[in-house]
Assembly symmetry: C2
Homo-oligomer: 167 residues x 2
DNA sequence: CTCTAAATGCAATAGAGTTGCATAACACGG
DNA sequence: CCGTGTTATGCAACTCTATTGCATTTAGAG
């Protein structure tokens, strides 16, 4: 299972004819496996079980992956970068969903036409960043997925604010 | 001139029947006068000329203004909060423009229908944050406004990258 | 196998933002 | 106009994410 992501990561890096190092492979594999945006901290703790890699190296690898367009960097409202595997088709137009409850960030595929925003004259748009905040399927009460599984961040910080959860 | 903004700020705070302090009045006045989103640092340096206020107090006043809905807090890609005078009509739907060159942030009025973004089933949207990045009227070359005026941040960090400026 | 450029690990640093606590001041009642 | 209690402020110390400098290690080409 996990080995498959490592292989995929290794291939991706090798095809870019870049140096294949364990740090690069493992960080990229972690992102591929996660399927959602991860913080530096999340990556570090995931790798610590099997391949302990220095904090700074992880920062540098993430920066490298971003420059190579293997990943993209998402600014958050908690001053923490999150990194997601880059999606070729949505280059320059990123839409993300951040759960107000568990803080996890997901990429949104169907972004609609957010290009409809009009700029004042003389302004030129180059990139778009859209963040939708709300409640994810696991945190929305009444949803059968509402049990948090292993790699989730408990407890729900909104648990004490029923109003915020729509009750 | 500046005194007008102070008066306006004072009125706004007094009408909320909250304690009118110089820190609150001056910070709010600075935001009103700026007409764009300011960082904590920008506010601090503006006030230092006339009314020196402690860093921490400014942080606390900004937090208070945000809670009172006098201002709203904009997350940036440089891990720095920016604060803008709150706009009643666009509550919960914020669109901002950030210049890649001078780093200034402006509120966008015409947000189009960015609600068109579709969420996966089981997800609930609560707030939207849209940031358009690009070049503002003063940084876009060929524009007659291209001379940076006094309160701008020189030099343009993109000056050495003609490609980024669209040349 | 050897060599060199590139990547890594460690320590120190930077910078935004936060917290604890003693002091100051706003506004209210007399 | 003056005392009084609640609230805001100033200062110092601290937290946390992220960055930088430098010596050491390593990937991969020859």
């Amino acid at each position: 299972m996990a080995i498959l992501f490592s292989n995929a990561a290794e291939d991706m890096i090798r095809h870019r004819s870049a140096r294949v190092t364990t740090a690069r492979v493992q960080v990229l594999a972690a992102l591929l496996k996660a399927g959602r945006a991860l913080t530096h901290h999340e990556i570090e703790s995931r790798l610590s079980r099997t391949h302990a890699i220095d904090r700074v190296t992880i920062y540098r690898v993430l920066e490298w992956l971003t420059r190579q367009r293997f990943a993209h960097k998402i600014p958050g409202d908690d001053r923490v970068w999150r990194f997601n595997v880059a999606d070729e088709e949505h280059a320059g137009q990123h839409a993300h969903f951040k759960c107000n409850c568990c803080d996890r960030v997901f990429c949104l595929k169907d972004t609609g036409n957010i290009h409809s925003v009009k700029l004042p004259s003389g302004y030129r748009a180059q990139q778009l960043e859209l963040t939708v905040k709300g409640l994810c399927a696991e945190c929305l009460p009444g949803n059968k997925l509402h049990k948090l599984s292993a790699n989730k961040k408990p407890p729900c910080k909104l648990a004490n604010y029923p109003q915020a959860l729509g009750k």
